[in-house]
């Protein structure tokens, strides 16, 4: 039996599956807690839990990872230097140093002002020994990369670090987004390289000799070596894998994939079995890139979302993720006593901190104490024996609990927060119990008291509130899919759609019909999406193995890449300009231009396949011509011709 090993490193869990290559049957599945500080620990644990008997039968290992997304969100990665050429505006980039060089190429790819080579050389000299990677981004470089390539050539003689040119990552206009893409890619290189290396080591130790491929954010896959050059393509690979898993497991072509993990609820409406892509590029960590990744709407509604009473007396969920009390109490038994014994006065007005809030040390070594305040150091000291509730710390520090500032310690990841979550809610009601139930019940009592409700009343209220949030998120996602822009979305209108507790007006009601099932993915999905489905009166499918759907999705990915070229007529020079991925050429006739471009795309396709290590692939060339009855064009109103070479191959043909 030939098997594929799929691994998904999520924010909370790392899933692993073994899938029969021929039947698609899940032979074995496993989950392990994601070890954020070293992902391969979780990977190794998950692989171990699979209980693999015959590692020789594994022909392919597919990996999806949140590492890139997390690294970007957390601002981690290599020290990047940036050379911009004719930057149109002063922008902010997450780089260590930056220089702008004069030299202009316009969007037709024509050289308008020459590249200031001496300025470029001087700027490169200043970056010597200061950076790990260099990014070069020139205005309109996707139309003519000459200046980027020239500067790259210069830098090779001066810096001796990897160099990335923006045009190598995307062919889409948008100077800022393209530069950001290149910068983030550069930052991620050592991060992903380390992951791939470590994963390969783990595989090697386990005796798994299969090729390793990485899932991209658009659901396709790439060879590990390719991922080391283009790590930015791995952003949002997790959600993409989840969507693929949803399609595969449900057998549906039209569906709404709702992937609920520990931190977020990711919703992806799918039609005709096609993953929707964000053509403008994915936004990651607040940065708008030009990476074509799956378009998903993410909501801070996960199983581990921070559940709390706000200062207006209402219940809130997320977006912050915390460790559930029930899970923490497995290790820190003292927390049960602390939650039970330590109270706030009945009339205490909650500002921020909750009675159920606890903290524990995340980092025990290499803490630079000198940058911390006295109180912060005290907190660390108090936590060296384990986790404690905030009320405990308040007592020890003789302070009001809201007066203890832990924000910096959280941001620096020296400590982490433990508190009530929807997972605790399910433990308290008994609907789902995996860890310590008692502490969850105690936490609900505390929160109920704040709301002046009986516990069971409060639990129903909290469950309803969380379910409502999920319903609103689903409807919002589908309305956006329908074409309504964010600015015009009204949460109030959406709530009204299914709210039945508004006594003010009974003369009108809305009925919302779902024409496709919700397919629930992820551990908390079954419970919460079933509740949401009841409210929305729509079909909810939580397929077998849905808890590892992401990992299943990874093994269904294939290699797909589209190489593009553009031919335009320039009425000023009366030439046909061909814009190719890494060059620009002019021709006297359209036929010449087309012939040249077709040949080049075939060569590019071959080069891409070689890079992927793929021996067998198929390619399909399509052309889209635009004509116009406009002014300016003197030859048959030709405006432009777009040529696309779609390369596709089964991932099993990758040889590395």
């Amino acid at each position: 039996m030939k098997l594929k090993l799929g691994i998904d490193t999520g924010g909370s869990y790392t899933d692993a599956v073994l899938v029969d290559c021929d039947t698609g049957e899940v032979v074995s599945k496993a989950k392990a807690r994601t070890t954020k500080e070293n992902l391969t620990i979780g990977i190794e644990e998950a692989i171990d839990k699979l209980g693999i008997n015959n590692t020789a039968g594994i022909v392919l290992v597919c990996l999806s990872t949140t590492l890139a997304t997390n690294a970007i969100v957390e601002g981690k990665g290599a020290k990047v230097g940036l050379i911009t050429i004719d930057e149109p505006k002063e922008y902010n980039y997450p780089v260590s140093c930056k220089s702008n060089i004069k030299g202009k190429i316009d969007v037709k790819g024509c050289e308008v002002f020459p590249l200031n080579v001496s300025e470029a050389a001087a700027a490169l000299e200043t970056m010597k020994d200061e950076i790990d990677t260099l990014v070069i981004s020139g205005y309109a470089s996707v139309r003519n990369p000459a200046y980027e390539l020239k500067t790259k050539e210069l830098s090779n003689g001066i810096l001796g670090v990897p160099v990335i040119c923006a045009h190598e990552l995307t062919n889409v206009l948008g100077y800022y987004e393209r530069t950001i893409t290149a910068v983030l890619n550069a930052k991620l290189i050592p991060v992903i390289k380390e992951l791939i290396l470590a994963t390969k080591e783990v595989l090697s130790v386990k005796g798994i000799k299969a090729t390793l491929v990485i899932i991209k954010g658009d659901g396709n896959c790439m060879a590990g070596s390719f991922a080391e050059e283009r790590p930015i393509e791995t952003v949002l690979s997790g959600p993409a894998a989840s969507a693929l898993g949803g399609i595969l497991l449900s057998g549906k072509q039209d569906l709404i994939v709702a992937d609920m993990g520990g931190t977020t609820l990711d919703i992806v409406p799918i039609r005709n079995g096609n993953i929707p892509l964000d053509e403008c590029g994915a936004t990651v960590g607040g940065w708008r890139t030009r990476v074509k990744a799956m378009h998903t709407r993410s909501f801070g509604l996960g199983g581990d979302s921070y559940m709390r009473m706000n200062n207006l007396g209402a219940i809130d969920f997320g977006p912050q993720r915390v460790v559930p009390l029930c899970a923490a109490a497995e290790k820190y038994k003292n927390l049960i006593w602390e939650i039970e014994s330590l109270h706030l006065p009945e009339d205490y007005h909650i500002i921020g901190r909750q009675e159920a809030d606890c903290v524990a040390l995340f980092k025990r070594h290499n803490i630079d104490r000198k940058v911390l305040t006295a109180e912060e150091n005290q907190i660390i000291e108090l936590l060296t024996d384990g986790a404690h509730s905030m009320l405990y710390l308040a007592g020890q520090l003789s302070k009001d609990v809201d007066g203890i500032d832990i924000a910096r310690l959280l941001q620096m990841e020296i400590i982490y927060l433990i508190s009530a979550t929807p997972t605790d809610l399910l433990h308290a009601t008994g609907e789902y119990v995996q860890y310590d139930r008692k502490i969850s019940q105690l936490a609900m009592e505390r929160l109920a008291a704040r709301k002046k409700m009986a516990v069971d009343e409060f639990e129903a209220y909290a469950e309803n509130a969380f379910t409502d949030r999920i319903c609103v998120s689903l409807i919002e996602s589908l309305l956006i899919e329908k074409g309504i822009t964010e600015e015009k979305l009204s949460e109030e209108l959406i709530r009204t759609v299914f709210s039945d507790d508004d006594e003010r007006c009974r003369l009108i009601d809305f009925d919302c019909r779902f024409h496709a099932p919700i397919v629930g993915i992820g551990a908390p999905a079954k419970t919460w999406l079933t509740k949401a489905g009841r409210k929305l009166k729509c079909e909810v499918i939580v397929p077998q193995n849905s808890e590892v759907a992401n990992a299943i999705g990874t093994v269904s990915g294939n290699i797909r890449e589209t190489l593009e070229a553009l031919i335009r007529f320039d009425c000023h020079t009366k030439k046909y300009i061909a814009h190719l991925p890494n060059r620009r050429v002019t021709f006297d006739s359209l036929d010449e231009a087309i012939g040249f471009v077709e040949r080049e795309l075939i060569l590019y396709g071959k080069a891409f396949a070689d890079k992927m290590g793929v021996k067998k692939y198929s390619s399909d060339l399509s052309k889209e011509q635009i004509v116009s009855e406009g002014y300016c064009n003197s030859e048959s109103n030709f405006v432009e011709l777009r040529l696309k070479m779609a390369i596709s191959a089964n991932a099993k043909y990758i040889c590395h």
Partner: protein
């Protein structure tokens, strides 16, 4: 384009262009076989050629007057010139040279002429026509109009030479085009061959002229372009072709200070030992001073002529003064009109020393220095850019083809020295065109101010472009939007819809303003909408149009205003910048 790219410049040179040096050499070889004539003036004098006569006149510090005459037949032309001569003799003013202005038909080879169009002036048909003009007693008739930089260059040039015209052709007319004569390479080669002949006649004082107001400087806002471009023409004529070059100027400059300063600046910049008489003529302004009411013109023109006399007396360049220009605004001047103005000029000369006592020229002298310094920078910038673009700047054929083919609307933005230093044109001294544009801008800014819209567009970036060659309208719009606080990105003239959107997308701009005057506004609006929808972007573009928003609609024979139709399609078409600014500020 806002500025010419290297590729654009490089592509101005057609492939397979013959080497200009070889063509010149060919002309030089033919030269000795052609006997260059002399005008009757020269034949009857002690001088060998008119240039010597000119030098003598300069040394005498005389003020000499000039006329442009273009009458219906050769005979009338000869008689007209004689009548002016007689008149000047009576007025006791120096008048020894005239520019004979033939019909534009003369520029075209006989076999291609369409004689059905009305000619305002005589047509040069035969060598005898040239000779007749060269035989007026006491007169140097310059036959340089429609002679050199024209399709009929060889025939006209050689005959003008034989007739003794010391200026054999005006360089600057190379910018003009002639219907039915699209083989520019051929006639530019002929022009160069004529110049080869002239090169062989250098010692006899024959050369070419340039009239700056007929060529690229006339598209510029800054008067330094006059000096810069004159140096460029001299470079081609003298450095590359070894042909004497003299410059004429003035038709499009009404500011008497700039006119005077240019006299000195041009003379100093162009002077060289082998050509110490670089400025041939100061021409009266055509934009303001020659209007319908002839008698009223005398008031304006006389001020201008007064300054011209004072400047020539001060700088002693030898330049002759033309008081009555040819202008399309009215008609070709009659002999009577010219006589009237010459009468005014003669009286001006009488009191001139009194004026010299009271006019302080130091401001003009300073202006002249700036014009010289910046003009030289302009010229050097031209050569650097052409060289950097891959042109052979030592091949006169390539230089002439560049002059022939370059888009005049891009000239100043490409070559003005401040573009390199500061990324925009910083004007030193406004030409009439520049002043007109600046006045419009100032008025526009006042309107923005009184509508309290200054700064309303702060934080917004707006892309503007023109789908045709109207560059000044774009400059006006840019300035007004900047006064309103916007950052403006200028995508230039002759911009295609794809280019406009590509530039907007590259720079992350959602506000796009498109100017059009070519009568295809509705088609352009459709293209803009189509492109906007195709881009599938989250940019949420806001497009506005302005200019001349008309189109010839199906079934109609005249253009119709389509502003309302464009608005209904979803593109803001107000042609009112105040309203447009308000709309953008509220978006």
């Amino acid at each position: 384009m806002a500025r010419a790219s290297k590729e654009y410049i490089k592509n101005l040179i057609p492939p397979g262009l013959p080497d200009g040096r070889e063509i010149l050499e060919h002309g030089r070889k033919i030269g000795p076989t052609i006997k260059a004539g002399r005008s009757r003036l020269v034949r009857d004098s002690e001088f060998d050629n008119y240039l010597e006569y000119f030098r003598d006149h300069k040394e005498r510090k005389e003020i000499a007057w000039f006329s442009n005459v273009g009458l219906a037949t050769i005979e009338e032309e000869v008689e007209g010139i004689k009548e002016l001569q007689k008149w000047c003799k009576k007025l006791n003013i120096k008048y020894h040279s005239t520019l004979a202005i033939p019909s534009t038909l003369s520029a075209i080879p006989k076999e291609l002429r369409q004689y059905d169009s009305k000619n305002t002036s005589y047509v040069l048909e035969n060598p005898e026509d040239f000779m007749a003009l060269g035989d007026i007693e006491g007169m140097e008739v310059i036959q340089s109009d429609q002679v050199l930089a024209v399709p009929n260059a060889w025939f006209n040039g050689i005959n003008a030479l034989k007739a003794g015209s010391y200026q054999v052709g005006c360089f600057s007319q190379l910018l003009w085009n002639y219907p039915g004569c699209e083989d520019h390479v051929k006639y530019v080669a002929d022009m160069l061959r004529v110049m080869g002949v002239l090169s062989s006649k250098r010692s006899e004082g024959f050369g070419v002229s340039g009239y700056l107001d007929d060529t690229y400087p006339s598209y510029c806002k800054d008067a330094i372009a006059w000096v810069g471009y004159a140096l460029f023409e001299q470079y081609i004529a003298d450095d590359l072709c070894d042909v004497i070059y003299q410059v004429n100027y003035g038709g499009l400059i009404s500011d008497i200070r700039i006119r005077a300063a240019l006299l000195k600046a041009l003379y100093d910049s162009l002077w060289r030992e082998k050509q110490p008489l670089p400025v041939a003529k100061i021409q009266a302004n055509t934009t303001r001073f020659w209007d319908h009411d002839i008698e009223a013109n005398y008031g304006m023109l006389s001020q201008e002529m007064l300054m011209a006399i004072l400047a020539e007396r001060r700088y002693n360049t030898g330049a002759v003064i033309l008081p009555v220009p040819i202008t399309e605004k009215v008609h070709v001047p009659t002999i009577e009109a010219i006589k009237g103005m010459l009468g005014v000029c003669s009286r001006l000369e009488e009191n001139i020393e009194q004026w010299e006592d009271v006019i302080d020229f130091s401001y003009i002298d300073e202006m002249a220095e700036v014009l010289k310094t910046e003009g030289i920078k302009f010229f050097r910038n031209m050569l650097d850019i052409l060289d950097d673009s891959g042109l052979d700047i030592e091949d006169p054929m390539q230089m002439l083809m560049f002059v022939k083919n370059f888009n005049a609307g891009l000239f100043e933005e490409t070559f003005h020295p401040s573009m390199k230093e500061k990324g925009k044109v910083e004007v030193h001294y406004y030409t009439d065109m520049g002043r007109l544009t600046q006045n419009m801008i100032d008025e526009g800014n006042k309107t923005v101010g009184s509508a309290r819209l200054e700064g309303k567009l702060k934080g917004k970036t707006i892309l503007i472009a023109s789908t045709d060659a109207h560059v000044y309208g774009l400059q006006y719009v840019r300035n007004i939007l900047e006064t309103a606080g916007a950052k403006v990105v200028d995508a230039g003239v002759d911009a295609s819809v794809q280019y406009i959107f590509d530039t907007a997308d590259e720079e992350g701009i959602r506000y796009i303003g498109v100017s059009t005057h070519n009568g295809q506004a509705l088609g352009i609006a459709d293209q803009l909408l189509h492109e906007m929808q195709k881009r599938d972007s989250d940019r949420n573009y806001l497009i506005f149009m302005g200019g001349r928003l008309n189109t010839i609609l199906p079934g109609h024979s005249e253009p119709s205003d389509v502003t309302e139709m464009i608005n209904r399609k979803g593109i803001l078409a107000e042609n009112n910048l105040v309203k447009t600014i308000r709309t953008i500020s509220e978006s």
